[in-house]
Amino acid sequence: MKPLQRKLWRELLHLKGQMLAVAAVVACGISVFVSMSSVKYSLEASRQRYYSRFRFADLFVEVKRAPEFYREMVSRIPGVASVSTRIIADVTLDVPGLDEPATARLVSIPEYRTPVLNDIFLKKGRYIEPGKPEEVIVSKPFLEANHLVPGDHISAVINGRKKELLIVGMGLSPEYIYEVQPGSFFPDKRRFGVFWMSRRALESAMNMSGAFNNMSLTLAHGASEKDVIMQLDNLFRRYGSLGAYGRSEQLSDRFIVDEIKQVGIQITFLPVVFLAVAVFLLNVVLRRLVATQRDQIAVLKAMGYSNEDVGLHYLGFALIPTAVGSVAGTLLGAWLGRGLMNIYGDFYNFAELVYSFRFEDVALSVLLSFGAAVFGALGAVRKAVQLPPAEAMRPESPAIYKPGFFDRESLRSKIPVSLRIIVRNLERRRWKAAMTVLMISLAVAILVAGRFTYDSTERMVQVEFSEKHREDVTVLFNTPMSPSVAYAIASLDGVLEHEYYREESVKMGFGHRVRRQSIRGLQSSEGLQRLVDKNNRRLTLPPDGVVLTKTLADILGVRVGDRMQVDFLQGKQLHREVVVSGTIDEILGLSAYMNLGALNRLEGDGGALNAAYLRIDQAKAATLYTTFKKMPGVAGIMMLKAMKESFDELIAQSMTTSTLILTTFACVLAFAVVYNGARISLSERARELSSLRVLGMTEAEVSVILLGEQALLTILAIPVGFLIGIGLSWLLAEGLSSELYRLPLVFSAYNFFFACMVIIIVSALSGLLVRRKLLTLDLVEVLKTRE
């Protein structure tokens, strides 16, 4: 090894604290980038692979009942590659150990196993046997949540008749990667499952012989989805089709696509912050290094080392910690990515979740880090290169101090000398002080933004599960019921409050924009379901007109007062006009609300009901549930409390993990900035501080002067960090918002308190670490050292 290289390594080792801080910041940035980009890539790859391997359809049509020969007709539509028909029905289940009825979505599969669209990945057990109508393959999340295994029995009420089903296999399907009950946003694994059953068995149970109610298609390469949808809609309108739709409207796929998009947004946000801090740290550390090594630079030049030699030598101080950080960051990122993918595995049911990362992503992140390192080092390296050797021989001129704001007579007497030293030092190097404040505030901001998603989710839970919905259960009917069903339900023992809604599928249009949507007719917006926006504000449903969620109104381009076209897709299939009477910025999904009476008038019938919201007497719940299980008209029930619990459980782990990661990273950031600041301060002022000690100041007094500066900057950084954090959260909320949900911008007091405490503790710790160095200063040695 050449002597200059040896000098580099030994001095890096000597500066290990500061260099490790730089490496840690780089490692954080790279690990976020690598983990997030690998998760994004892995999710995309898993999705693609799953879809192609199990032939996930491109288009879906739901009808009431259509003759099977339409399959043949549809397959002749230009652009259609393959067609499958199925029978799908939601039925109630009697799950052992569960009082309330669960819902099974029965999906028909061929009696003899043949490749079909939306095929099953058989995870355990076997395929159904022909001639055994009781055999079913059940989705993995449901089986696992209910501790069921192939070989177990479960009873279902299919078309009013109770049937014993035999579970023969555990399966997964690309259609239900995100498995939720229709009408719900959150998975409730215990109470909703997909059951694959023989087509013949379902035909006979549902009286659907020679007919189907669900069709899936794949498109030929280059075919126009829009054209095929139009032809399908023309064909199936008379069979009660609500309109054909593509993958973009398939709930499960939309969740995954949204998730991938959100991961993509996070890739850009954190690494940029970390790289900025790395640039800053390298800049200050190297500037200080070059300043302390002026004489060495002069000697090297005097010996005949060229400017390039000297420049490269100092650049090495930036490149090596960056290289260490890159390697550590890549490894940490791969580890984190794998961990995150496991968490995703709980949310999303992939046949196989492959974790892998692209070389390009890692290379790009490493390249960006090195770019940042060079950028950060540039100022100092240039200084080293340009330093004329003769000037470098002379000691640096003493720093120029000028009377500042706090030196006015009126203030001077009130400020102790130690504070005056601190303030003057900061005033003299305002730019550096401002940058330090900014960097510490970025750590605060990451903490605030990290906890913001937590607060935001809390708000969502509060709004969705307490403010907006006050019912205990929602009873879903399998066909629209006449309003008289209300009497039957009201008469059930244990029902305390009951309320109904009607759900009508329509095509809404305004100008050239059209959207398939459902309108929910509510009896009231003051009862069990209320209209509550993301900021927890309530809205009263007007007696006429339609209230749209803000996102839906934006998609359609309508404003309050506009008249909108509404085509009912069922019943008399009327074409109507309706006034937009209000908008509401809800957290979840896209919705349209009307007063039930107004909707009935618009539809022009005597009214129909699709579901009931009930508040029930918990003491009588079990009896009520048993009754529901037996009612043929009940497709299933949704329990608010169970959904909340399931959501809490599901979200808890990922929230805890991401908060932990962000907190750790913010701590690393704050530590690195404060530690480096204090170390540099110590190196710049060791002589001065030792002189003060020699003059009789105590260790504590000298510590105050050294660390007071960092403390002051940290305190200044906290409010700045709050503001940046709020801005960052806003950006995050905007970026993460989709048609499926909008993050409400809420910050709890605890969020700010937590960020504040973390930063203060981390700063104090790094300060103490530097203070130990201060206490070990050899006073005589320091004073002998030539400046």
Partner: protein, 254 residues
Amino acid sequence: MPPSPTITVDINQSSLNAAADEPVLNISELSKSYVMGEVQVDALKGVSVKFYAGELVVLLGASGSGKSTLINIIGGLDVPSSGKLFFHGREITAATEAELTAYRRRSIGFVFQFYNLISSLTALENVQLVTEIAEHPMSAKEALLLVGLGHRLDHFPAQLSGGEQQRVAIARAIAKRPELLLCDEPTGALDFQTGKLVLDVLEKVNRELGTTTLVITHNASIAGMADRVVRLRSGEIVEDRKNLERLSPSELVW
């Protein structure tokens, strides 16, 4: 860095011409002023002087007399405000940065008052810094043996006494076999005994290697060991005399 033929001189050949009339260094009307903080300093005011091969010259002067500035300009570390400097007839004052680097690398050895060793490198490695980039260097070990530090090769600067550190600095300076050895207050930071030891080494190098040596000092007693004494005051040469007899450093007293 490409070697610059315009200012390089084959060291062995020039050593043979020790007695020649042609000066190694020819300095004419050299002036230098610079700004330090908010003050303008006129460090040199029209200095003209010649130095010949193999000479051991002591540059005497009080602090601020301009001797360090002169030596820095001679060594190619600094550029004059006006005037010219010729090294073997080639104008150094007109050289580019790259040519100056090559000039320092091939022809000049520096010894500083505060040794300026790289604290993170051992004695041997400090010398290797030079042998690494020089063209016909002696080995680093040889150089350290020459200054009597054969037993301290692997010691870091912090483990060496001041005198030892300065001898490492001398070894570092002479390892490349420079034609010109420039010493800026080499005993300034040392006590009397140690200082004499260092001067012994300088005298030995001058005698055995024939290296033209300029020693800056404010200590007039050291002048006794020189062939020639040049005295500076306020940036001007006020005296330039030859010693009739050169004393050995052990005979010096201060």
